[in-house]
């Protein structure tokens, strides 16, 4: 009898607990439903990017990843109750169209302008944004020109969530020193200012760290001298070749030339050589190649959130080819952080005033810091990727260290 009562009591208690838990669950669901009701006025981000030309491999994955991230943010209540909405315009890298697209984005209610990842192509849009006192961001511009250094005082409203070239140069110098490659041949493709800046910063930092530059070589993509330059680089005897260039068409030619001439020493480059798509098929040629990037797109990134996002993009048929895609969500996280800090305003000067104070703001790609001098990210740790016997894989995280800010 006592035992039965005891059982009844336990059952009743369990039922009560279950009821309470159920109520909590319902309340949680209600709260979640409340979060989902991001019914405020949308915060529109006008993305004026390239979806057809040379910037497409950088611009498109970044904006697509950012849109996926925005979905996630909107599903959990938006930004202070307001959903994020992207309006994407294909500027085809035409200056006049870039300007008119930016004006269209503003006419359609954009509060923040998002531009292509090259400041040269983006300038007409940036200037439209600046003249309308809007916050202008680029997810992955790799120079420090998104800011006052290029646009004077109005440039205070412009930021890039790409790494500053000082950071790129410093991390490559650290990588070489860490691996014991104490002499380097530096090969610069003069096609873009970014390449020149990265190699110059590498040279300075590497020498400061005690490394020796054996020789400096240059070519310009399109001048058909890459094979001759690779031949010279192969014979210098340096412990490594640091190459600042883009992927196709010159990189496969350079790598093939070096390896064919018997030089099996490491070839090291910045983010611009990221992605395994350009590698020659031969495992002996595509070997001992290293780069520093934002994320690994080879299924082994240490951050599970990045792996998940990569998987989502892949399932949508939008597989990113380089780790630069994470700069999209990163830029969006930066915009959201600034809006939250200003308690919901989207006015450019107020957002920029907060953004310039960013110090190790956590984002998907790592901590983001800006300053009055640097409107591009300085000091964020990189993923080091190595191509071994034709297969790229994540090796380690490496911080650019004290020289990242051009010290």
């Amino acid at each position: 009898m006592v035992r039965r009562r005891w059982l009844k009591a336990v059952t009743a208690l369990a039922g009560s607990i279950g009821l309470v838990l159920g109520m909590v669950d319902v309340a949680g669901a209600a709260a979640a439903a409340h979060h989902k009701a991001a019914t405020g006025k949308p915060i529109i981000i006008g993305a004026v990017i390239d979806e057809t030309g040379t910037m497409k491999p950088f611009d498109q994955p970044a904006v697509e990843a950012a849109q996926l991230w925005a979905k996630k943010v909107n599903a959990s209540g938006g930004v202070l109750g307001r959903p994020i909405k992207f309006k994407v315009f294909n500027d085809q890298l035409q200056p006049s169209l870039t300007r008119s697209d930016a004006l269209k984005a503003i006419a359609q209610g954009a509060s923040v302008l998002w531009t292509t990842c090259d400041v040269t192509f983006a300038t007409p849009a940036i200037q439209v944004g600046l003249s309308h006192h809007m916050l202008v961001v680029s997810p992955c511009t790799g120079t420090n020109e998104m800011g006052p250094s290029r646009f004077g005082a109005p440039g205070k409203l412009a930021f890039s969530f790409g790494n500053a070239p000082t950071s790129d140069g410093a991390v490559l110098a650290r990588l070489l020193m860490q691996k014991g490659w104490k002499s380097a041949t530096v090969v610069t493709d003069k096609l873009l200012t970014y390449f020149v800046d990265v190699c110059q910063n590498f040279t300075t930092d590497f020498q400061k760290m005690g490394g020796k530059i054996v020789t400096q070589l240059t070519y310009t993509t399109g001048d058909h001298t890459v094979t001759q330059v690779a031949q010279k680089a192969a014979s210098t005897g340096a412990a490594a070749t640091v190459l600042c260039t883009t992927t196709t068409p010159t990189l496969p030619a350079f790598v093939t030339s070096e390896r064919t001439l018997g030089n099996t020493k490491p070839i090291v480059g910045p983010w611009s050589i990221d992605g395994g798509f350009w590698e020659p098929k031969s495992a002996t040629i595509s070997n001992n190649i290293w780069w520093a990037t934002y994320a690994s797109v080879f299924g082994d990134d240490p951050n599970p959130q990045i792996r998940k996002l990569y998987g989502q993009m892949k399932s949508l048929g939008e597989t990113p080819q380089t780790g630069g895609f994470v700069t999209g969500p990163t830029a969006l996280q930066g915009i959201i952080a600034a809006i939250k800090r200003t308690h919901g305003t989207v006015k450019g000067p107020k957002l920029a005033a907060q953004m310039v104070k960013f110090h190790n703001v956590p984002t998907l790609s790592g901590p983001v810091s800006f300053s009055a001098k640097y409107h591009a990210v300085v000091g964020r740790p990189y993923r080091i990727v190595e191509v071994k016997n034709g297969k790229p894989h994540f090796v380690e995280m490496l911080s650019p260290g004290k020289y990242a800010g051009g010290a």
Partner: protein, 384 residues
């Protein structure tokens, strides 16, 4: 009014009316669409600049965009605030670092610099004809590009010149294009241009009657340089920025295509080609972001606009090998100008009678202008 006077009036009124129509439509567009219209007008100004030399001389030049580039950078640099100049271009020569010009001053300076640059280049190159002239002018484009892209003392080098005041609106672009048309018209009515056209049709015969081909080509080249420099200033003031890659190969070939499709040997052809292809290009590009025509909304897949443009371009050349205007001025046929066939017959027979070889290789189209040869030869005094 006689028919010839009517023809003369139509020659000027036609292109001006076309420019006016674009301006009228543009005035009713949104700010963003006005940007496209301004671009169309500025591009048409460049095409008229090309016509002044290429159309009248029959010598293909790939170098005129150099004058656009120089004009754009001069106008851009001199109107950028001094503080921005010092920050963004610290290595500039002193004479480029100080004065700040007004919009109008910068435009006039750009035209002047374009003319001077063309004079220097022309003194060296205007004795060349045909393929050699084409290659030499292409070399000028390359040299100009390389210097602008690499020499930080005269500009931003490979980076973008930003913070240029945006002062070219629909009004200024319209007036600018109209000024270019009037200049081109005035020039093509001049004695010098008639002699140049005579040399285009038959250089040997022209030389035979004492025409100094070098002098007249140089004159056209300098005027073309001035108009191109002027257009460069409009360009930079319309966009507010410029990078050297914008005034290089793509602009060279697109403007040449516009001239050829319109009809390279008439002012009407140059204006029509510039405006029509400019509008088409702009429409197709915008269609990739979604557009609507007569209530029908559609979006072109990314990249398709260039393919459609290229197909239409080839189609236009196949259907109208001598351009949409058949190298005629506005209403010329309706107002009684002799047919191409007739002019062709006269030209060939007169050339054959002189035992000449016909137009030079590389000339754009010598035949229709052959009639002008006879006219010029009849009216021109031998030059000393």
């Amino acid at each position: 009014m006689t028919r010839s006077r009517l023809r003369l009036a139509a020659e000027l009124v036609g292109p001006l009316a076309l420019v006016g129509v674009v301006a009228l439509v543009a005035a009713h567009l949104s700010t963003s669409d006005q940007t496209d219209a301004i671009n169309v007008l500025v591009t048409a100004t460049i095409v008229v600049g090309l016509y002044v030399f290429i159309g009248n001389s029959g010598v293909i030049s790939f170098g005129q965009i150099s004058f656009v580039a120089v004009g754009a950078f001069v106008a851009g640099i001199y109107t950028t605030p001094v503080s921005t100049r010092h920050t963004t271009m610290p290595d500039l020569f002193g004479f480029l670092g100080r004065p700040v010009l007004t919009n109008m001053e910068s435009i006039l300076l750009a035209a002047g610099i374009g003319a001077v640059f063309a004079l220097i280049v022309g003194l060296a190159l205007m004795r060349l004809s045909g393929l050699s002239a084409g290659i030499a002018t292409f070399a000028v484009l390359e040299i100009t590009y390389d210097i602008l892209a690499n020499w930080g003392k005269i500009g931003p080098g490979p980076t973008t010149l930003a913070s240029v005041p945006v002062t070219t609106g629909v009004g200024q672009a319209t007036i600018g294009c109209a000024v270019a048309v009037v200049l081109a018209f005035t020039y093509q009515r001049s004695r010098s241009c008639r002699m140049l056209r005579a040399s285009r049709a038959d250089p040997l015969a022209a030389r035979g009657i004492g025409v100094s081909i070098f002098r007249h080509r140089l004159g056209a080249f300098v005027l073309s340089g001035a108009i191109c420099g002027f257009a460069g200033a409009l360009y930079v003031h319309a966009l507010g920025s410029i990078n050297v890659t914008e005034v290089y190969l793509a602009l060279t070939f697109s403007t040449l295509a516009m001239l050829v499709v319109g009809g390279s040997q008439s002012l009407w052809g140059a204006t029509l080609g510039g405006i029509l292809l400019g509008i088409l290009s702009s429409f197709l590009s915008n269609a990739e972001n979604g557009t609507s025509v007569f209530g029908l909304s559609f979006t072109l897949p990314n990249g398709l606009s260039s393919i459609i443009f290229a197909i239409l371009f080839v189609g236009a050349l196949m259907l109208f090998p001598r351009g949409l205007t058949r190298n005629r001025e506005f209403l010329a046929k309706a107002l009684g100008e002799r047919s191409d066939k007739h002019r062709l017959g006269v030209g060939l027979s007169s050339t054959a009678a002189r035992g000449g070889d016909g137009p030079e290789a590389g000339d754009t189209d010598g035949a229709p202008a052959a009639a002008t040869t006879a006219h010029a030869a009849a009216s021109a005094e031998p030059e000393k």
